[in-house]
């Protein structure tokens, strides 16, 4: 690999593009840089000198890569960092609250919270590797959202002001998560299908499908809350999370489907969401002896 090729790879490592898009950018950058290099050589510079000069003129690789990422996926990486760091900061703040105010620190909770924040932050750091798998990124974020949703539910046992403050923080965090997932889903579509006339409908379909997800998550967490509140922690309680799991798995196929058939995907998304909720309800009925 010569100096210019190495430089291009350094640029690309800052970007979340798919393999195909990456190849296009790679070719474009390489041809551009090689052209400039030839110009310098014709001006009388040696090959090595020309390469150095081209790279110096183009700019620092990290910065160029970040700029390209921002122009193609504006704010996505920053949002990921923000969500990851805010999740970790919440872990720190709430664990201190648990230790000094409530006197019941729970290290297990802290592990899950830090893990949840760390995974998102690592995804932001390694955007060139993780970012090209749009569904994986969505799934990571949705798990972060669900976990923070469970946190919101458990905040309700605190005294009024503590509950309001911590819940507000978490709500903003969850909101940012959904914004990221929506935008990420939308970007994935525009990579799959370039037809622009359908983009409005595709956006609408993504919003609706995420809305189904929000409803599934809220209902499931509400049932989980009722279970924990009235019956304490049991295996049964986690049956209430089945609809979320089904919705999450189905979303992988749904993302492709929305891009191709945005109108029809509104119906399939709704159907699967309702079916998932009904299924969990039936399992609960049977497991409790009708």
């Amino acid at each position: 690999m010569n100096r210019i090729e190495k430089y291009v790879e350094e640029v690309l490592i800052q970007m979340q593009s798919t393999e195909c898009e990456r190849e296009e950018i790679r070719e474009e950058l390489l041809s551009h840089l090689h052209e400039a290099k030839s110009d310098y050589i014709s001006e009388g510079l040696s090959e090595k000198q020309a390469e150095k000069k081209v790279i110096a003129a183009f700019g620092e690789s990290n910065r160029i890569g970040q700029e390209l990422q921002e122009s193609m996926y504006p704010f996505q990486r920053g949002l990921l960092y923000l969500i990851g760091i805010c999740t970790i900061v919440f872990g720190v703040l709430f664990y201190l609250h648990l230790s000094f105010v409530i006197h019941e620190p729970s290290p297990v909770w802290l592990v899950v919270q830090l893990l949840s924040g760390t995974i998102v932050t690592l995804a932001a750091i390694n955007i060139s590797i993780v970012g090209r798998y749009f569904y994986l990124l969505n799934a990571l974020l949705l798990i972060n959202i669900i976990w923070n949703g469970i946190n919101i539910v458990s905040m309700q046992g605190l005294s009024q002001w503590q509950a309001i403050l911590f819940s507000a923080y978490l709500l903003i965090l969850v909101g940012m998560g959904f914004v990221f997932v929506f935008r990420n889903s939308y970007y994935s579509t525009s990579r799959i299908d370039g037809k622009h006339q359908k983009q409005g409908l595709v956006k609408f379909s993504y919003i609706m499908n995420l809305l189904y997800g929000v409803i599934v998550i809220i209902l499931s967490l509400f049932f989980l809350w009722s279970f924990l509140f009235f019956g304490g922690i049991g295996i049964d309680a986690f049956i209430t999370l089945i609809p979320i799991l089904i919705w999450l798995i189905f979303y992988k196929f749904q993302m492709n489907f929305i891009a191709k058939k945005p109108a029809l995907s509104l119906a399939t998304g709704l159907l699967v969401s309702v079916a998932a909720l009904v299924l969990a309800f039936i399992i609960l009925r049977f497991s409790n002896g009708g």
């Binding site: 720190v92 409530i102 802290l110 592990v111 760390t118 690592l122 750091i125 009235f230 019956g231």
Partner: protein
């Protein structure tokens, strides 16, 4: 900085952060255990003393103190990890009966009935350690103790929390220590057992679609239910901690007087004339009022007020109130 180094340093920072927080939480210490007064208090037959439970960092003990307030005197302590409840003076004031409870490995409570002789400090276990005794009341002659015992600790519905159920009344003869079962109801709920002054009947609170007061005739086992009439915020009475007056003509209890701004019920003290069934509100604390007890020779009561109702930890204090609802005074108790 290369990507690998970035990843490794970030993970290292997070692990370090976890270790620091874990250590901090560890040093901050675990739950301290409850410190404060218990819910129920009782007044001595001569109206001079009260007995109550006080816990210090989860260590529960029974004390007595002058009704006028002042220094408390330690009577007995619970075994480590156990908690004490519902202390009751015997009719001659020489003994105090109470319940000692603890939790099994499955976090189910068990409880035994205890009797303390105040003259020599001797404590006697009256029941075994297999059952769940919740409270007790002396017979008027002081020769026996009636007590409530739950048969199971469970939730009958998946959306209900685990509670003691299958209650029955038992009696122990204090001379022979023989125990007999009085009722055979396996009641869903039964509490606040009290004996009528003539010793012919027992009163308790139960639930049968709604809260009710039940009088159990000890001679023929016949039961009569009484439902107070009054201006309760919930329409139907939600009777809590009823108690008989020493002449047997009144019942005091706490019930919902209104709903606070954030939706919690505000319980106040009520007094019901047993003849007319009419209940009058006799307190207006605006806080959670519970566990009234009648004085024996004066027209006064002691009530417990919880200033932290519906939060994670209660904050109980004891107050003397006049039966007509006029005037109240907190019993200031110094714990040694």
């Amino acid at each position: 900085m290369s990507l690998t180094i970035k990843n490794i340093s970030f993970i290292a920072v997070i692990i370090l952060l976890f270790l620091i927080l874990w250590g901090t939480g560890y040093l901050a210490g675990g739950p301290e255990g409850y410190t404060g007064f218990g819910e129920s208090a009782d007044i001595s037959p001569d109206d001079e003393e009260i007995t109550f439970v006080y816990a210090h960092k989860g260590e529960s003990a029974i004390y007595t103190a002058p009704v006028s307030g002042g220094n408390a005197e330690l009577v007995t302590k619970a075994d480590e990890g156990n908690y004490l409840l519902n202390p009751t003076f015997s009719p001659d004031g020489e003994k105090i009966a109470y319940v000692e409870q603890w939790e099994t490995e499955e976090e189910h409570p068990l409880g035994k009935l205890m009797l303390l002789n105040r003259a020599n400090g001797e404590v006697k276990e009256l029941t075994d350690e297999e059952g769940l005794v919740t409270e007790a009341a002396f017979s008027p002659d002081g020769q026996s103790l009636y007590f409530l015992k739950a048969g199971v600790y469970t939730n009958y519905s998946p959306i209900a929390s685990e509670q003691p159920h299958d209650f029955d009344i038992h009696r122990i003869d204090l001379n022979t220590e023989e125990i007999e079962q009085i009722t055979d109801e396996a009641a869903y709920d039964m509490s606040d057992l009290d004996s009528t002054p003539d010793g012919e009947a027992l009163m308790y609170r139960s639930y049968d679609g709604g809260d009710q007061l039940v009088f159990y005739n000890l001679e023929d086992g016949y039961e009569t239910t009484v439902t107070p009439i009054g201006d309760f915020a919930t329409g139907v009475p939600m009777i809590y901690s009823p108690v008989l007056s020493s002449d047997g003509n009144y019942i005091a209890f706490s019930d919902v007087a209104r709903t606070s701004e954030n939706g919690t019920y505000i319980y106040e003290g009520y007094r019901m004339d047993l003849e007319s069934k009419q209940a009058e509100q006799i307190t207006s604390f605006g806080e959670h009022v519970t566990k009234p007890v009648f004085f024996n020779h004066q027209d006064k009561l002691i009530v417990t007020v919880d200033k932290a109702f519906a939060t994670s930890e209660p904050d109980y204090s004891y107050w003397v109130i006049n039966a007509d609802g006029e005037g109240r005074e907190r019993i200031q108790i110094e714990i040694p």
